[in-house]
């Protein structure tokens, strides 16, 4: 390996934890608000709220966690944190595996766990829901199913977590509602000084349109509470999808590595035009094997999987180098018309296989098809066992355009790096309406210290390669928030300086999630790393 892999890891630097005496005092005051049954501060609790898919499990250990059940309790806890100047790190359910789980950027923070805030209010006629952050995808799904409410949610590949939390981290699903942050409509937010606000139409106390109109009047604040540390969202509205009359489409496999470009150039125009309204995700040959098998079943060789192994995997699962599930939703006559257009476009690029799909209400939904049908799932996380023991994944997800040529170039660069660092290549290209996310997973082998030492330099190399071409990430693990934010550096980091001016104005005590998304309050600004 080249010399750049041997440089000292930047992850070794320790962040300053607040003094224990201060934390103890703050926690005692917080306990008086929520009761001792909602305060968790044993060594086991600290481990449980640490990162489960970590590069270094000790780096982000919190001091304690506390679980309020009402927004009023959140207000009281925030005021106590500000008075004692102790950092708090909010999680909705704390299941953000691959991005830090429940762990804070600054070790020694108090985790504010909103798991116990679980209220749901569905407006069936208008297809919206008002949720508290502790509601998970499975909770909302069960709620809708048991009441026969004809509304669908969109779910991410790991649906264990919170509906609101995932939208606030710009998580992704696979239906026409797959860009989850776009479904947000109206929030209730506790600001760092404890004041409560409602955004959009919610600022009018009697408005019947809080979950219907996203903007209200004047500046629209919802997105300022997404991937930020400006406030704690205690309720949010989300748009749900009316159950379609029919879902149809094709499961498409493309034989060769170089088929990625034409596939993207076929899907892109249909997505931009609106023939395709879902968020199609092109995945490589690895997507079944790492869930259903372990590496030892294929090879004992270290380094990236060889072309021979790739061929064997593809043969066993009947996969191309790339595959994509394209789905059309809605009224049968409209879907039929769009299906004809889609089929013609796909045939022109000669897929290796093209399997038709049809679902109508009442038909069973196979567990593996759940992602396109809004059914929550956890089985994709079986990839954590790819190396046979303790594992996990960390993402590298730059924002690309929908150009097949540019995506192919980015793929070639990235795949070469995977081989150089001896990693098994798992990637997807996920369409937005105009952009495309190249979601790469780095599968971890937590039982192999030598392997783990390569992960940080590998990620840093990928981030630097992407930055050189103008590609920044849409989301980051807590270890990489500074580095990713550092890529967005127009006019000497003018955007970050604006974020931090807002941060200092709203949170002068610097208590709310310091370091989140690379935004540091004045008191912690020296902690920034890159």
């Amino acid at each position: 390996m080249g010399h750049q892999h041997e440089k000292v890891s930047h992850l070794d630097a320790k962040l300053t934890p607040p003094p224990t005496a201060t934390l103890d005092k703050a926690l005692k005051a917080m306990t008086a608000v929520v009761g001792s049954g909602a305060v968790f501060a044993t060594e086991e609790d600290r481990d449980a709220y640490s990162d489960r898919f970590p590069i270094d499990p000790h780096r982000h250990r919190p001091f304690a966690a506390i679980a309020p059940t009402t927004a009023e309790e959140v207000q009281a806890l925030v005021r106590i944190a500000a008075a004692h100047r102790v950092p708090i790190w909010t999680v909705s359910r704390g299941k953000n595996l691959g991005y830090g789980t429940a762990a804070p950027v600054v070790a020694g923070s108090i985790v504010l766990d909103l798991s116990r805030m679980q209220k749901i209010e569905v407006d069936v006629e208008n297809a919206t829901v008002l949720l508290e952050p502790g509601v998970g995808f499975f909770d909302l799904y069960d709620y809708l199913q048991t009441r026969n409410i004809p509304l669908w949610l969109s779910v991410p590949g790991n649906s264990w977590g919170s509906v609101i939390g995932n939208a606030l981290d710009r998580g992704l699903g696979y239906t026409p509602y797959g860009e989850h942050t776009r479904n947000l409509c109206g929030m209730e937010v506790v600001l760092p000084d404890g004041e409560m606000i409602r955004t959009g139409m919610g600022a009018m106390p009697n408005a019947p349109s809080w979950q219907l109109h996203k903007y209200g009047y004047g500046p629209a604040w919802d997105q300022l509470f997404v991937q930020s540390n400006f406030g704690i969202v205690t309720k949010a509205g989300m748009w749900l999808m009316p159950t379609p009359e029919v879902v149809r489409g094709f499961d498409v496999e493309m034989d060769r590595m170089e088929d990625l470009g034409p596939l993207i150039d076929t899907i892109g125009p249909l997505r931009r035009e609106g023939v395709l309204q879902q968020s199609p995700t092109i995945g490589n040959w690895f997507r079944a094997a790492n869930i259903l098998t372990t590496r030892h079943q294929w090879t004992d060789q270290p380094g990236s999987l060889s072309d021979e192994v790739i061929s064997a995997i593809r043969k066993q699962f009947g996969l191309g180098w790339w595959g994509v599930s394209l789905r059309l939703y809605g009224r049968a006559t409209v879907v039929q018309a769009n299906l004809d257009i889609l089929e013609k476009a796909l045939n022109a690029i000669k897929p290796m296989s093209m399997k038709p799909f049809t679902w109508r209400p009442g038909d069973p939904i196979a567990p593996t098809a759940g992602g396109w049908m809004g059914v929550p799932m956890t089985f994709p996380m079986q990839s954590a066992n790819w190396f046979g023991g303790r594992g996990g994944h960390i993402g590298f997800s730059p924002v690309l355009t929908q150009s097949g040529k540019l995506a192919m170039e980015q793929f070639n660069r990235t795949y070469a790096r995977y081989k150089e660092f001896g990693m098994d290549y798992q990637a997807s290209f996920a369409f937005g309406e105009r952009h495309m996310l190249n979601v790469n997973a780095v599968l971890l082998n937590l039982d192999d210290p030598q392997f783990m030492k390569r992960v940080d330099p590998f990620l840093r190399t990928l981030i630097a390669d992407a930055k050189a071409h103008g590609y920044g990430e849409y989301r980051a693990h807590i270890d990489y928030m500074d580095l990713v934010s550092d890529c967005y550096d127009y006019n000497h980091h003018a955007l970050r300086r604006l974020n931090e001016r807002v941060k200092d104005a709203l949170d002068p005590a610097g208590i709310l999630a310091p370091g989140k998304s690379g935004i540091w309050p004045a008191a912690y600004r020296k902690e920034r790393k890159a």
Partner: protein, 104 residues
């Protein structure tokens, strides 16, 4: 009866996900079955290490309550630890009693 009332009010008013005082089986289905049901990460991975027909925790007859509680709190292999914010000690005790079928 409580449940019927909740369903009737569901569209009109705030409704908690959990009805009052669920039992161990209900808690298992709400808190664990997403991974340990028929299809899920837990069942899928346990099927690699034991007979697939008993990979679902509800089909096991060798679980003690103490083991279930420890496994949930510290996490086993790829299972993340279950925080006390997500599942309280009292709730976990009910789940453990249900899965252990009476064994301490």
């Amino acid at each position: 009866m409580i449940r019927l009332v909740l369903i009737a009010l569901s569209v009109l008013s705030w409704t908690a996900v959990q009805a009052a005082e669920p039992d161990g089986q209900q808690l298992f289905h709400r808190k664990c079955a997403m991974c340990h049901g028929a299809v899920g990460m837990g069942t899928g991975l346990l099927a690699r290490r034991m007979k697939p027909e008993v990979a679902q925790l509800e089909k096991r007859d060798d679980l003690s309550a103490a083991y279930v509680e420890r496994a949930a709190r510290i996490g086993v292999l790829n299972m993340p630890p279950i925080t006390r914010g997500d599942v309280s000690d009292a709730q976990l005790a009910l789940i453990a009693r249900y899965l252990s079928k009476g064994k301490p």
